[in-house]
């Protein structure tokens, strides 16, 4: 069943500075309370992961991850334009973030 198509503006770029794993996140909102930019808000439904309201304001400090009580519930998602590469010395093989 095709999803309904809505009239939405372009997403702020980059749009996903943090990604929540809803299977692990309990909606405790510790990250909301620690974020220096106050860019997260509690989800309207208690127990759901917070909403990233101001992704353009992310400082990429990772304080949200540092203070999250559940490992893996929140991941910092580095913007694509800031991802770096490295090379394995022995083989010359290339990798990236």
């Amino acid at each position: 069943m095709r999803k309904k198509i809505l009239a939405m503006p372009n997403a702020i770029t980059p749009n996903r500075p943090v990604i929540f794993d809803s299977g692990k996140c309990s909606g405790c909102n510790a990250c909301v309370e620690v974020c220096p930019m106050d860019l997260l808000i509690p989800h309207p439904q208690e127990g759901s992961p917070p909403v990233v309201l101001f992704p353009d304001e992310c400082w990429y400090c990772g304080s949200c991850v540092l203070h999250c009580p559940k490992k893996g519930a929140i991941t910092l998602n580095l913007p694509l334009i800031q991802r770096v590469r490295w090379k394995r010395k022995k083989t010359g093989e290339h990798f990236r973030v």
């Binding site: 809505l6 939405m8 997403a11 702020i12 770029t13 980059p14 749009n15 996903r16 929540f20 809803s22 309370e33 620690v34 974020c35 220096p36 930019m37 106050d38 808000i41 509690p42 989800h43 309207p44 759901s48 992961p49 917070p50 909403v51 990233v52 309201l53 101001f54 992704p55 353009d56 304001e57 992310c58 400082w59 990429y60 400090c61 990772g62 304080s63 991850v65 540092l66 203070h67 910092l76 580095l78 913007p79 800031q82 770096v84 590469r85 490295w86 090379k87 394995r88 010395k89 022995k90 990798f95 990236r96 973030v97």
Partner: protein, 664 residues
């Protein structure tokens, strides 16, 4: 969850916090500390320990806020029992580095007290020693104290520290010491006695950034710790926080409110050319590089050829160990000083040229694999983890993606341009407070500003820098403010001042149409690029002033802030506009060029001519801007001035840290 996803499934959510516009709360206290960063927390703790009531106002969440929140890997320029370097010598490194435009007063205070501060931090729970013996036997470790040192292994002046533990420890101590912490509250103004600019400061106003509730703090002493302005010349509307050391909550709020209250500033005409803040940089310390956190990593080119390291005399260093030692005839190494006396070993200075000539093949890489095991582990896993914004964004992210420091070469993007580290396209795209030393508030030996009752610490001070300096000056200003509060009677706050401020603050909340904060910041940064770029001249600077007045008259009244968060951002941009105005006037007043200040004028091209090697001061009086001068050696005799004013402290702590003191 992404906001887009929520909107598509449930529609636009309501503002999640209760709106309390129109609510007002008055808080009476002895000392109010403005800003809950490193300086602010130390000031609050220090004042509370003197037995006075303390309130702390913080825009974010004190447990992690500010430039020092996410972490810190080095506590530098700190005379201590394992080092023979004196406080006077430390101050000289900054004097040489800045061409004399340094805050020798605050630097000396920091040099005398930052070791004591470090030990106190340990008592609060900050980790400062290699307790787990992860680096037992390392060249940079002192076996007796388990301290780890950076940059100069002989002189042991710069500590390596586990700074991710610091802010939470400071926050806990604030609470334990009884400090009333007001998080999510933005300071909006200082209150002068009788509501008159230039008179004693008797408190501050603030708003809650989630609810819009208004606060009036009445205090006998106020400590200003609001860091420094950013986003003056550059503003990326969608990448506001990409590549800055300091968070974008540092918007010069302290500069703006203190200037409006009549305090004196200096060095406001200083600026620099740097990639930080451009939105085009990489995560700090997240790419292959040989600086600070990554000192002194081997750098190789695409074919594995090593880029040589040289000492200050250009001698090529044959071993990794030599990169951490002074050169022949050199006494000690500064933290990052380029002055000959203190210059650290670095990569060959003509690297860019030699890349162009084909001697080295791009891209370059940081080669952790070839370092001695202890040097590799201290960089990747300690320095990169403990330095701010490195644990989660770099260490964990790269490890998760498979990066292995024993096997992998991390690419460097710094050397893709012809001039390493200076890649922004245009010289007009300058920085003010994003990195290095910049303009700030002038103080006396009590760290009291020219406004009675208003003290200042940390990056709020002119020519300040570094975590250790913020900590030590915060600790110092806190005890001075407490001392002042103990011998001062309360003063009335004029209702008219409060009403006037509420009008200014809440003027945009009802507006339905108009521009929002980003467009205003983008415009103001553009004005500064065009009229305060590089080089400058009288005509351009004056038009810049006119433009800002135009914006204040035409665009600011159309600002719209639909919620308290955007209200906070709007007030920040108004502060950026005030800082821009300050900068333009300071630039007009300096009728000479000065390389140390990054200041060039077409119409006054002579570099630091006689009579112009001086500080230029700026303040408002009766609403008019007045400039003045302060001699380069305004601080007088460092030792005498410090010791005569801190007899109690020296007696009690038995330190103020002279070399060879026994306390470890």
């Amino acid at each position: 969850m992404d906001w887009n996803e929520l909107v598509e499934t449930q529609g636009i959510p309501k503002w999640p916090y209760p709106i309390r516009y129109g609510h007002e709360k008055e808080i009476s206290t002895d000392v109010v500390v403005l800003g809950g960063g490193i300086a602010g927390c130390w000031a609050a703790i220090s004042a509370a320990r003197k037995g006075v009531k303390v309130a702390l106002i913080e825009k974010g969440a004190t447990i992690r806020s500010g430039g020092g929140g996410p972490g810190c890997d080095h506590w530098v320029l700190t005379p201590n029992p394992l080092s023979e370097i004196t406080a006077e010598e430390v101050v000289d490194t900054e004097f040489q580095e800045t061409g004399g435009y340094t805050n020798a007063l605050s630097r000396y205070i920091a040099a005398r007290e930052s070791y004591d501060t470090l030990l106190e931090l340990e008592k609060m729970g900050g980790k400062i020693r290699d307790e787990k013996d992860e680096f037992k036997g390392a060249q940079f470790r002192d076996e007796g104290t388990k301290f780890l040192f950076a940059y100069d292994y002989r002189n042991r002046l710069h500590f390596r520290v586990w700074g991710t533990t610091f802010k939470p420890a400071l926050y806990r101590e604030c609470r334990r010491a009884g400090v009333m912490v007001y998080d999510r509250a933005m300071v909006t103004s200082l209150l002068n006695e009788h509501g008159e600019q230039g008179r004693r400061v008797v408190g501050a106003t603030a708003i809650n950034v989630r609810t819009g509730e208004f606060f009036v703090f009445r205090a006998k002493a106020t400590v200003l710790c609001l860091s420094r302005p950013q986003r003056i010349w550059q503003f990326q509307t969608e990448r506001t926080g990409f590549d800055t050391l300091r968070p974008q909550t540092n918007t010069g709020d302290g500069h703006a409110i203190a200037f409006r209250a009549g305090a004196e500033f200096t060095l406001m005409e200083k600026s620099a050319f740097h990639i930080m803040g451009s939105g085009d940089g990489f995560p700090i310390y997240g790419q292959g590089n040989p600086f600070n956190t990554w000192h002194a990593c081997t750098i190789v080119d695409a074919r594995g050829k090593e880029v040589p390291w040289v000492d200050r005399d250009g001698n090529i260093l044959k071993t990794v160990r030599e990169r951490y030692l002074p050169a022949r005839g050199q006494k000690f190494l500064g933290e990052r000083s380029q002055a000959y006396a203190y210059r650290r070993p670095q990569l060959i200075p003509d690297l860019a040229e030699r890349i162009n000539k084909g001697e080295f093949t791009l891209p370059l890489y940081a080669d952790l694999t070839s370092l001695p095991d202890e040097e590799r582990r201290i960089i990747w896993g300690m320095m990169v983890r403990e330095e701010g914004k490195t644990d989660v964004p770099i260490y964990r992210t790269y490890t998760r993606s498979g990066f292995q420091p024993e096997q992998d070469l991390l690419q460097s993007y710094l050397f893709l341009g012809s001039d390493p580290l200076r890649s922004p396209a245009l010289p007009q795209k300058r920085i003010f407070g994003e990195v290095g030393e910049c303009g700030g508030v002038v103080t006396d030996w009590d760290l009291q500003t020219t406004l009675e009752g208003l003290f200042a610490a940390g990056d709020q001070l002119f020519a300040s820098n570094y975590h250790h300096h913020a900590a030590a000056t915060g600790r110092y200003a806190g005890r001075k403010a407490a001392h002042y509060a103990l011998k001062t009677r309360e003063s009335r706050v004029i209702r008219k001042s409060i009403e006037k401020e509420k009008e200014r603050v809440f003027g945009f909340i009802e507006r339905k149409e108009g521009i929002q904060w980003k467009e205003l910041n983008a415009a103001s940064s553009r004005i500064m690029q065009n009229y305060c770029g590089d080089p400058k001249n009288e005509e351009l600077l004056k038009i810049g002033v006119l433009w800002l007045e135009d914006i204040a008259a035409n665009e600011v009244p159309r600002l719209s802030a639909p919620d308290p968060h955007k209200l906070m951002r709007s007030l920040e941009v108004l502060n950026i506009l005030t800082c821009s105005e300050m900068i333009l006037h300071a630039c007009l007043a300096r009728k000479a060029s000065s390389p140390s200040l990054g200041f060039n004028r077409y119409d006054y091209p002579e570099k630091d001519p006689p009579g112009w090697h001086t500080f230029i001061t700026l303040r408002q009086e009766g609403g008019k801007i007045r400039t003045g001068r302060l001699p380069i050696d305004f601080y007088g005799s460092l030792k005498e001035n410090y010791e005569s004013r801190n007899k109690d402290y020296l007696l009690l702590s038995g330190s103020g840290r002279t070399p060879g003191s026994p306390r470890l």
